[in-house]
Symmetry: C2
Subunit: 100 residues, 2 copies
Amino acid sequence: MIDLTNPGSLEAERVRSAAVARALGDPKRLCVLESLGTGEASVGELASRVSCQVPNMSQHLLVLRSAGLVTARRDGNTVYYRLSDPRILEACHLLSSIAR
Amino acid sequence: MIDLTNPGSLEAERVRSAAVARALGDPKRLCVLESLGTGEASVGELASRVSCQVPNMSQHLLVLRSAGLVTARRDGNTVYYRLSDPRILEACHLLSSIAR
DNA sequence: ATGCTACTTGCGTTCTTGCGCAACTTGTGA
DNA sequence: TCACAAGTTGCGCAAGAACGCAAGTAGCAT
C-alpha cells in the first residue's frame, strides 16, 4: 500500500505533479495561462478570448485554481485572475517545445 | 470555427501541448518517465518498479508513445522503452517544482 | 511442432472531464 | 429596494481514461 498522507513522499509528490499536469492538459486552459502571461484578466475577458461561455470558463479557472496555478482577486463585482508563479509560463513553453 | 488542420496554428499547437500534458498527468506515468531518466527499461521492469500489472503498464506506455514522449525498441521478445527527448525530464522536474 | 516468455489487445466496469443550460449569489448604482 | 451585471454552482449528459482480467501475438529454445 502506498502512503499518500506524507506530503514529502515521492509518491505524494508525483500525485501533486500529475494534478498540475492534468490542469495543463486542456487547450483552453493553456490558452488562459498564456493569456494571463501579459497580466491579470477578468473571467469575462478570458471567456471571450478563449471563446467559451462564462460558466465554462469559471469551471476551467476552478481547475487551475485547485492546482495552484492561478490566484483570484475580487474588485467590485468582477474577479481578476493572475498566474500564481512565473514558472507556469515556462512550463507552457516547455510543453509546446516538446510537442513540436 | 477553429482550424485544426493547419499544424502551425496556435490552436493546433495548444492541442498538441495539451496532449503532452495529459500524458504527464498520471502519477504512474510520471514514475515511468523518471525511471527512464536513468536509461531504457523493459515493460516488465517498468511494471514492477511502478508496481502495476503488465497489461496496465503496456497501456500507459501506449499513451506515452502516442504523445511522443517515449520510443520503443525490440530486442528478441523483450521491448525496451526510452525517453524520446531529455527535455521530458526537465518537464517532470518543472512540474514537481511548481507543485511543491 | 511444442512450450515458454514477453508484450499487446480486447472487453467490461467504474470514475473522471468538459460542456451547455438554468438557477443562485454577490456587489453596484439608480 | 429594485434591477442589473459579473461570477459561481448545480445538474445531466456524452465522451474519455484507468484498471483488471482474459485472450491473442511474437520471438526463442527445445
